[in-house]
């Protein structure tokens, strides 16, 4: 098969995973939030409501697509694509196992961050093009939030890169093999040097993906639906699909960087080669556990204010991560 056909198949697989993630995560979100509110969530369509989101996708597809009179037509149409494409691109570097990955990029970590940081351009575009004050506020908030937290997000994981000496996500996973004393996994989350790193990463990742308590760009009780207010039907669907997909991406990044990626330390190494599906299964299970925790946070914490978000980013997280880079640099040098 030609290299183009193989590439197209790989992208189609990533696209399929992205769509499946969207459907599964929306169902999961409704169920998790439902049970956190002591109610059942969707129950009627399919067994325990499992077909609810499938039907919702079909419904979105057959809904009238309203383009309000005042909007900037071309930007309004372009924005969902600008949000969707980087979100899909972010799947390219994720290591699902040592053989299951789309590309084996040496700059995988930087590439994934780059893809994620393109998304807010589309959100700002959507907010501006909608010609609606709610949308404009949402888009502007998204841009301000994004630029405030991209820096701590990138800085926070720098100590890991310094220790591993690579930004290849596969290499970062391989550096976390084995156990301490036979039981404790040698995941980076078990290393006290990376605890502040992890905290900054979690906060910055929640902001980057517009998750509660930092969902200011769409805060439904303040600005209706933020940047998505004027969007309807499938354009709205694509915007939200990307949002859920980004949540999967950051969770997968967290699993790769801190929780040993596709490996479990207690399993012998030969198992991964014998059962090729094992690595991806472990990876996706871990990622969904991360997503569950994000949903749990969403159901628990109230939204913060924009000035608090900006203050936390610029005045706390950036200085702390700069200090931590210097500190871990010294520790790593003294250690070795």
């Amino acid at each position: 098969m030609s290299v183009f056909a193989i590439s197209a198949l790989k992208v189609a697989a990533a696209l399929g995973l992205m769509l499946a993630n969207g459907v599964i995560m929306i169902y999961m979100l409704r169920k998790v939030l439902g049970h956190l509110h002591i109610r059942l969530g969707p129950m009627h369509v399919g067994w325990k409501g499992t077909l609810q989101t499938v039907m919702d996708v079909l419904k979105l597809l057959t809904k009238e697509d309203i383009t309000p009179r005042a909007v900037d037509r071309w930007l309004f149409r372009l924005a969902p694509a600008v949000v969707f494409v980087p979100s899909l691109m972010a799947y390219a570097a994720l290591p699902f196992s040592d053989t299951w990955r789309v590309t084996d990029l040496d700059t995988g970590l930087l590439y994934t961050f780059t893809a994620l940081s393109l998304v807010p351009i589309g959100i700002l575009m959507a907010g501006w093009a909608s010609a609606n004050k709610w949308s404009l506020l949402g888009g502007m908030r998204a841009a301000a939030q994004q630029i405030a937290y991209e820096v701590p997000l990138l800085l926070s994981v720098l100590p890991i890169v310094m220790l591993v000496g690579s930004t290849n996500l596969g290499t970062i996973v391989e550096a976390q093999q084995g156990t301490l004393l036979g039981v404790v996994p040698r995941w980076f989350i078990m290393n006290p040097l990376f605890w502040p790193t992890f905290l900054i990463f979690v906060v910055a990742a929640l902001v980057e993906t517009n998750q509660t308590p930092f969902d200011l760009s769409e805060g439904e009780s303040e600005i209706v639906a933020g940047f998505a207010t004027e969007y309807s039907a499938m354009k709205f669907g694509l915007l939200f699909l990307s949002e859920f997909s980004n949540q999967f991406i950051v969770s997968a990044l967290g699993v790769t960087l801190f929780f040993g990626g596709w490996t479990l330390p207690w399993l012998p190494h030969s198992w991964y080669a014998a059962v090729p599906i094992l690595g991806p299964a472990i990876f996706i299970t871990k990622t969904y556990l991360g997503i569950f925790i994000m949903m749990w946070i969403r159901g628990t914490f109230p939204r913060v204010r924009i000035d608090q978000v900006m203050q936390l980013g610029w005045q706390r997280l950036i200085p702390v991560s700069l200090v931590w880079i210097v500190f871990s640099g010294i520790v790593i040098k003294v250690w070795s």
Partner: protein, 122 residues
């Protein structure tokens, strides 16, 4: 130039191309399946039911601009730090000292911006 293109580059380009095809494809499918009955009220700007007052594209305050300037500085800094971090374990203590000086200069810049009130959200 061309001989440096690897399978990785082709895959990454394919991501952009297929993504850019998929979006209009779904929107076209939606257009074929969905009804279209626009009317005067439906196409109004949505402001929770009240008539929109004033233009939607209002002027935004300059505070955003200061944040953007700071962001450019710190983002470039981060990009400089990544190659350093990758090579970190292969290089001596001198590299660490150099980078501490570099981070120190930037931290001084951040402290100045902080003191001048550029980090305060108004």
């Amino acid at each position: 130039m061309v001989e440096n293109v690897t399978a990785d580059h082709i895959v990454l380009a394919m991501f952009v191309i297929i993504g850019a095809i998929f979006v209009p494809l779904t929107l076209t499918a939606s257009r074929l399946l969905a009804p279209s009955k626009p009317d005067e009220r439906k196409l109004d700007t949505y402001e929770c039911g009240s008539e929109p007052i004033g233009p939607p594209w209002v002027q935004f305050r300059v505070g955003y601009y200061v944040y953007a300037l700071l962001f450019v500085v710190f983002d470039i800094e981060t990009v400089f730090l990544y190659p350093w971090a990758v090579a970190f374990d292969r290089m001596g203590v001198f590299v660490l000292v150099e980078m501490i000086i570099f981070i120190g200069i930037l931290a001084a810049g951040l402290a100045y911006a902080w003191k001048e009130g550029a980090l305060r959200w108004r």
